[in-house]
Symmetry: C2
Subunit: 193 residues, 2 copies
DNA sequence: CGATAATCACTACACCCGTTGTGATTGGAG
DNA sequence: CTCCAATCACAACGGGTGTAGTGATTATCG
């Protein structure tokens, strides 16, 4: 009997929903079964321990958040420019805001990584890869600077997402306007209004 | 017998340490007692339920993170300028980085606020107040713009702190350099290198 | 100084969780 | 078709957790 990867994914997705909705405290084997609609014990069969469950969730996030190659290709085909990069950033923000559960779960796992080295390991790999991709795109767009500038964007966007997904200090401001302002300010060579 | 506020604070501080070290999952009455060195049952006496405990932690954070009036006054006495604001931001980042436990606990509570309205209430009050203070300082420094620009800083700095306190994408870059670049870019009227 | 009320240490209970084990079921290889 | 190995559903247990309750202690006030 083949390893049932589909069901494993479903369970992991259910786990991410639970993690987003109920927090680390609510993430239990039984809760995952409840969310996935599987009989009690199923999650426990697929992820033999709670650590294994968390690791499974990180790997699933890794799978879900790697950028869509189509969108990526489409963007890469366009003429490199400042506006192109703005679109790139906006796409990321839109996607992560839409996938609220995944993004909140991601924040939970980042905090978990601060405590558990094994989680940190998978997490670091994911972040580094994602970061490297962003830098590559940035350079391909012919923009000045490099890793340092992209890191600035990462910080700002993480903070923006956290604000948007939790208690916001400025809920009335359009998210796009914020992204535009960030691109304007953090990209070298911007207007200085 | 008077309400023992000192002990209540000690318990809350212990709770914040536990929350930072073990996460929401590890935050239990008994763990708080263990951390505080008080007999089992003490935390449960002071915070009658787990919800009450969490609320107590938020209130304690509120207490601990309100800016030091001395430092604030000292800064306010200086000539308003771009460099002054940079120092202001740097002070905040330094303080929050040093108080690692508190800051991580704060992130935990922000995620918790996304789930529990009662936590969100206290959290919103705290953030709004802190934000208003920053805006006031920003305006007093005679800098162009206002709430919108300060919000940008908030996002960027939250993201920076999260990066610094968990798995960093760019651990070798100096935090001060990042802050400088943010001030340079996000403050209207900066150089455009 | 005595009354009073809250703190404090400690106990007890019901509940839930992680983990492990055990047959029944299932689908593919020989 | 037959056998085999992995999946699956389910049960059980040891441990930890939230919560409430109970006297003893102690500080404060009339």
């Amino acid at each position: 009997m083949a390893r049932n990867e589909t069901r494993r994914r479903e369970l992991a997705d259910a786990g991410l929903r639970v993690l987003a909705r109920d927090g680390a405290r609510g993430l239990t084997h039984r809760a995952v079964d409840g969310e996935a609609g599987t009989p009690v014990g199923t999650a426990s069969n697929y992820f033999r321990s709670r650590d294994a469950l968390v690791r499974g969730l990180v790997e699933r996030i890794y799978e879900r958040l790697t950028p869509d190659p189509e969108v990526h290709a489409e963007l890469a085909a366009r003429t490199p420019s400042r506006a192109l990069f703005a679109d790139y950033v906006r796409d990321i923000v839109t996607r992560l805001t839409a996938e609220r559960d995944t993004t909140i779960a991601l924040f939970e796992l980042r905090l978990e990584a601060a405590r558990r080295p094994e989680v940190a390991e998978v997490m670091t790999a994911f972040q580094r890869e994602s970061f490297a991709g962003d830098v590559a795109f940035y350079l391909a767009a012919g923009l000045p600077g490099g890793a340092f500038e992209v890191a600035l964007f990462h910080y700002a966007i993480d903070g923006l997402l956290l604000d948007r997904l939790t208690t916001s200090i400025d809920p009335d401001t359009s998210t796009d306007a914020v992204v535009d302002a960030l691109v304007e300010g953090l990209l070298p060579g911007g207007s200085t209004a």
